[in-house]
């Protein structure tokens, strides 16, 4: 399978075999949003409108839309509800959609993140960092229960 994510310049780039209009719906439509992030979403897709997405690795993302430019660009603030280190509004996510033939190139940038704070809530890191520490300490972390 061809590589579909190119994070080598600090942004994620995904090529999607769909029109920008179709992809855009997945950024602003509550039902479609939960098909790829979280389990429940309430969102008000207009500048200044609030969104709340629960069920993201055990946390709830909360923020507001900054800019909505169908079908090419969405900017929203980002943070975790009830979290002091990355509170709602403390960082910003920008998604741009560029048509290329019958594909759309999606680029995602996550900026203004407080130093060292971005990853700790993700269950992936809470799972892997202790394992990494075990390896670094010369111990065998054992088989990865998450591996297939």
């Amino acid at each position: 399978m061809a590589q579909v994510l190119r994070p080598d310049v600090g942004e994620l780039e995904v090529r999607i075999q769909a029109s920008p209009e179709t992809v855009f719906e997945f950024l602003t439509d509550a039902e479609k949003v939960t098909r790829w992030k979280g389990t429940a979403a309430e969102l008000d897709p207009r500048p200044g409108g609030i969104y709340r997405i629960s069920g993201m690795g055990g946390s709830t993302a909360l923020g507001e839309f900054v800019s909505i430019e169908p079908p090419t660009r969405v900017v929203f603030t980002w943070g975790w509800e009830g979290d002091e280190d990355v509170p709602p509004g403390s960082s910003t996510v920008e998604v741009t959609l560029t048509p290329d033939g019958d594909e759309t190139v999606l680029r995602l940038v996550h900026r203004d993140l407080p130093e060292g704070q971005g990853i700790k809530h993700e269950q992936g890191w809470s799972h892997y960092i202790p394992r990494l520490a075990a390896v670094a300490a010369g111990n065998d972390p054992g088989p990865d229960p998450w591996a297939h």
Binding site: V4, L5, P7, D8, V9, G10, E11, L12, V14, R15, I16, Q17, A18, S19, T22, V23, E25, F26, K32, R35, W36, K37, T92, T104, L106, R107, L108, V109, H110, R111, D112, L113, P114, E115, G116, G118, I119, E122, G124, W125
Partner: protein
């Protein structure tokens, strides 16, 4: 990671990084892709260099830039962890949605 995230917050700087992704370029060649002034591009190059995202070498009077992939390690790890798998799912869902929109009868859309 903070300096890198700040550096890539500016859209033109991200465009510069994409230009040098596949090989090195002179400052002039980079500037030729943009409508803004050469000093503005020099400023962006300087920010990217200071953040460790670009390396610079000189050839006579030319300054030549290339991507410094190791400068992106933390940002890349964060992005992949936070968004990588989710965007893969978004891709699959959006492509399924597109196929539904165009109907099962559209053979050209089928793969």
């Amino acid at each position: 990671m903070e300096a890198a995230l700040k550096a890539i917050a500016e859209p033109r700087r991200r465009a510069i990084l994409r230009l040098v992704r596949d090989g090195e370029l002179t400052a002039g060649a980079i500037a030729s892709h943009f409508e803004v002034t050469r000093p503005a591009i020099s400023q962006h190059l300087s920010v990217l260099k200071d953040a460790g995202l670009l390396s610079e070498r000189r050839d006579g009077t030319k300054r030549i830039y290339r991507l410094r992939p190791e400068g992106f390690e933390d940002v890349r790890a964060f992005l992949e962890q936070m968004w990588g798998e989710r965007l893969q799912v978004l891709k699959a869902e959006a492509e399924a949605e597109e196929r539904r929109k165009h109907g099962a009868g559209s053979a050209s859309r089928r793969r």
